[in-house]
């Protein structure tokens, strides 16, 4: 009984803020506020950037997760901690760290700007970099856990059948961890969608270029609070729908591969 009571308190703790948001929502104007071009621009930019960030997280994060789970090398714990650091870093600090590296005067940004004329701050690419930086750990954690619990023998079998490590990874490992991969990618995507601090610090805030929905919400909170509420509702609705979908597909596919 006591557990149920506490669990109910916990649910209310999560639910009340959202109920409060719905309660304050200016429903009669919601559609006109949402269809304003600045709302739509920010939402479109957010969705594009977060999908790119999730994709980049998959491309870079899956091999990283595999190496962390399967290859033992000196300093592996340090490397893992380093790759997960942005998970706990205050996002603003992440933003400062990013421009120390990829900014105009940054370690890599300086040669990038001088040799290739590539500037990341104040560009949409910068937004994707900032989002990937904070979102990828979610994917790495999820996928690494999956690879760690994976039986290594199918991979070994594949190698004895003449498959290279890359072919084995692609045809044997990846399909086996697909549920975790999907889950990790969705979590990373959701984190990228909500990213604020690192983006505004590293990429700045310009409508149409770097102003993602959370930044637009922050700005609208001062200029037009009702618009901020409507934009937040859309962000919440999108994330909520995806998280519900994720739970089903995650449980569904993992039980399918679990008995094989």
């Amino acid at each position: 009984m006591a557990i149920l009571v506490i669990a109910t308190i916990a649910v209310l703790f999560f639910a009340l803020p959202f109920i409060g948001l719905l309660w304050r929502m200016p429903w009669s104007e919601a559609w006109s506020l949402l269809s304003r071009s600045d709302s739509l621009t920010a939402l479109r930019l957010s969705i594009e950037c977060s999908i790119l960030a999730a994709a980049l997280s998959v491309v870079l994060g899956v091999p990283l997760a595999w190496v962390l789970a399967r290859v033992s090398f000196p300093g592996r714990r340090i490397v893992r901690a380093l790759c997960l650091l942005s998970l706990v870093l205050p996002p603003v600090v992440a933003g400062v760290a990013l421009f120390s590296a990829y900014g105009r005067r940054g370690l890599l940004g300086d040669p990038l700007a001088n040799l290739f004329g590539v500037h990341l701050p104040f560009t949409t690419a910068g937004v994707v970099i900032a989002q990937t930086f904070v979102a990828m750990p979610f994917l790495v954690l999820t996928v690494e856990a999956a690879v760690r619990t994976l039986d290594p023998r199918p991979e070994e079998s594949a190698r004895t059948l003449g498959a290279s490590s890359w072919y084995t990874f692609r045809r044997v490992t990846l399909p086996a961890i697909r549920p975790a991969l999907v889950a990790g990618a969705v979590l990373a995507w959701a984190r990228a969608l909500g990213e604020f601090g690192a983006t505004i610090t590293f990429a700045g805030n310009l409508p149409g270029t770097t102003q993602t929905a959370p930044l637009a919400v922050y700005r609208a909170l001062e200029a037009n609070p009702d618009q901020a509420l409507v934009l937040s509702l859309v962000l919440i609705a999108i994330s909520f729908a995806v998280l519900i979908g994720l739970r089903d597909s995650w449980l569904g596919t993992s039980s399918g591969s679990g008995d094989a």
Binding site: D151, P154, E156, T160, L161, A163
Partner: protein, 353 residues
Amino acid sequence: MTLRATVDTRLGDLHLSVELQVEAGEIVAIVGPNGAGKTTLLRTLVGSVSADSAKITLGERVLDDSEQSLHIATEDRRIGLLFQDHQLFATMSVRENVAFGLRASGTRRNQARSLADMWITRVGLDGFGGRSPSELSGGQAQRVALARTLAASPDAVLLDEPLAALDIATRAEMRRELRTHLHAVNVPALMVTHDVLDAHAVADRVIVLENGRITHSGTLAEITGRPRSRYVADLVATNLVGGTTTNGVMLTASGISIAVPMSSPQGPGLANIRPTSLTLHRSAPEGSARNAWAMQISEIDRHLDRVRVRVVGGLDLIAELTPAGLEALDAHLDDHIWVSVKASEISVTENPT
């Protein structure tokens, strides 16, 4: 093509030091207690474990030469490995599993599929190509795994306890099939097993590996005739009786009829009668045991917790009792005694062809 390996390596407490040679078309069984280094040896041969010192050659190809710091990657060795629990790829169909090795080495999709189908037919699973591994029985899955290994046309095949996970009936069939298919591909084959009957039925030669060393090598008869270690003595401390089976009755060369399970393979074979399954009686037994023979005690070998009694008369059998059981029986050397065993306790392997 001959597989030659000289391996010397330490892994934890194990010091594996082995020199072996397997000819093309020869099937060699490795038996030995747990921790003797059987699996380490296989993994060294496929290259997933690097030995401290190794020289491994397959035909003209050098796979490992620690003096030259040469180590060929697993996928380039062309050595197939069949696991105990098939290790089929759960996310692929049976056909994709069998075609895997061909696809990995660049065979075009259509050709790989038709070769895979040919192998699926060859292992008796015609029409199973589209199924998922999860829909197969243990025996079927192991056949698919065998087809997958052989379809990659390896230059040598290693088998790690390939029959251990199968039920008794399937196991008998698989023994025959393994031998047939391995001989057909005519490459060196090395099979790890802990079952002396598997070794008997499948292999041409048996190697005993104990504590990282080869202690015996030869045919099963040669090894059981001269056991040189406690492990081998235990291993062969079973009663293997040769004869010809017809409809659940095996007739031995000495003219004794032994009731065996009705499902036993017909024709010449070997009956395995475990010493603990034999019961000794003072008088003719009544009851369900269909096999009862009047015999004579020729040896009593006492150990701490068990007693081995050798009985002769038409057959030559070892029975194992507890010291208390022997006490209760009040049996002594040269006593006449009745020996019984249930038909269901006997397993029969057919002779290799």
